[in-house]
Symmetry: C2
Subunit: 219 residues, 2 copies
């Protein structure tokens, strides 16, 4: 717990909550911790979960594989971020995606039912955390909308441009690195990897952009 406090302090869920109170909340929500090796699943499609997941170290992909084996990566979760909360809050509805560790990871689990019910210990931070959770959800919502605008583009090139210019905007620079390798980027944009590689090469020769591995520069 102690070693992750700095990461948790940066989590939006605990914005406006002091270190001691974060610990109090963790205790109040009966937090547990678990380590995952690269490739292990934190939860799977169809399961029912009732814990909010917070990634303390490593990285996680929210994704789903369909009947034919096509993978779709919904989002990448980085250290300090939360995931699974949309399902945990309504434990009744089955999870639509898998959460898989893409590198060795540590995850904290917080009981969401305890969060939503009044705390008998008169833990005054419940309402703050609930509001923070609400903010996080609106943020995720906007991210999903943004992703929709990318993959609703008709051609691979347009999808790439939509995604890459958004990344440039987010980082505030024409040069940036992306958190995906080629296959993952293709799965994120819902296109074929080789066709996408081909399109990237064309765009490079046309002078639209430059890239080396995961580092891109828009020109």
């Amino acid at each position: 717990m102690k070693k992750y406090i700095d990461i948790l302090k940066r989590n939006h869920l605990f914005s406006g909550v002091s270190e001691e109170n974060i610990e109090a909340i963790f205790s109040c929500l009966s937090a547990t911790f678990k380590e995952y090796k690269k490739g292990e699943y934190i939860f799977r499609q169809g399961e029912h979960i009732e814990n909010i997941c917070i990634l303390l170290s490593g990285s996680v992909h929210i994704q789903s594989d369909d009947y034919w084996g096509n993978r779709s990566i919904v989002s990448e979760v980085t250290s300090g971020e939360m995931f699974g909360e949309s399902y945990a809050v309504h434990g009744s509805s089955a999870v639509l995606n898998d959460a898989v560790a893409t590198s060795d990871s540590t995850v904290a689990f917080l009981n969401v039912n305890r969060l939503m019910t009044v705390c008998s210990n008169s833990c005054v931070f419940h309402s703050t955390v609930i509001k923070n959770l609400l903010f996080s959800l609106t943020h995720k919502n906007r991210n999903l909308m943004q992703k929709l605008t990318h993959i609703s583009k008709r051609t691979t090139r347009e999808k790439l441009i939509s995604y890459l210019s958004n990344q440039a905007k987010l980082t505030g620079s024409n040069s940036f690195s992306i958190p995906f390798n080629r296959q993952q980027l293709a799965d994120f944009l819902s296109v074929d990897r080789s066709a996408m590689s081909n399109e990237l090469s064309k765009m490079k020769t046309e002078g639209l952009l430059n890239f080396d591995k995961n580092n891109f520069t828009l020109l």
Copy 2:
């Protein structure tokens, strides 16, 4: 106001709140009402909004048109539903989509800042409404994920199957009607209308499904 109370009672935002208290909340959040003709915009891409919108009558599409005129319909809002809340809660971030009335509509606007701050009138329903808002957001999140699974399918046929089987599941029947005409369905699934029409016809001749206008039956 009075004439819409039945609609509002069904809104998840006011779940567990009595009629009188709904009125109190409307007063507390300085609700305003506005009528829109078919085709009019409630808000537009790039704007900043600070009111939660509740559709009291009519229907609204959340959509965006890109530089080339391609339209993407994110979701359909039906009577009693809420929209715009993901942007209103953080007034700072610009709206990513247009909200347009697809039929003559009435919309109620609720000031979200008042909701998030402690009510000086010691209006005890704030916390209930905030929790309801949180539930609604998780619901929308799951809907967006669901939509992602549809449009991340590679072929038009797979997109159609993914969407239509989900509709069948939601209505609990193999026969159901959809809230879109052909062009709107194409814009929702991010495909070309004529190609989609063509694919639907093929599926009909193959005996996969039947349709007449907006009424579909999966076989």
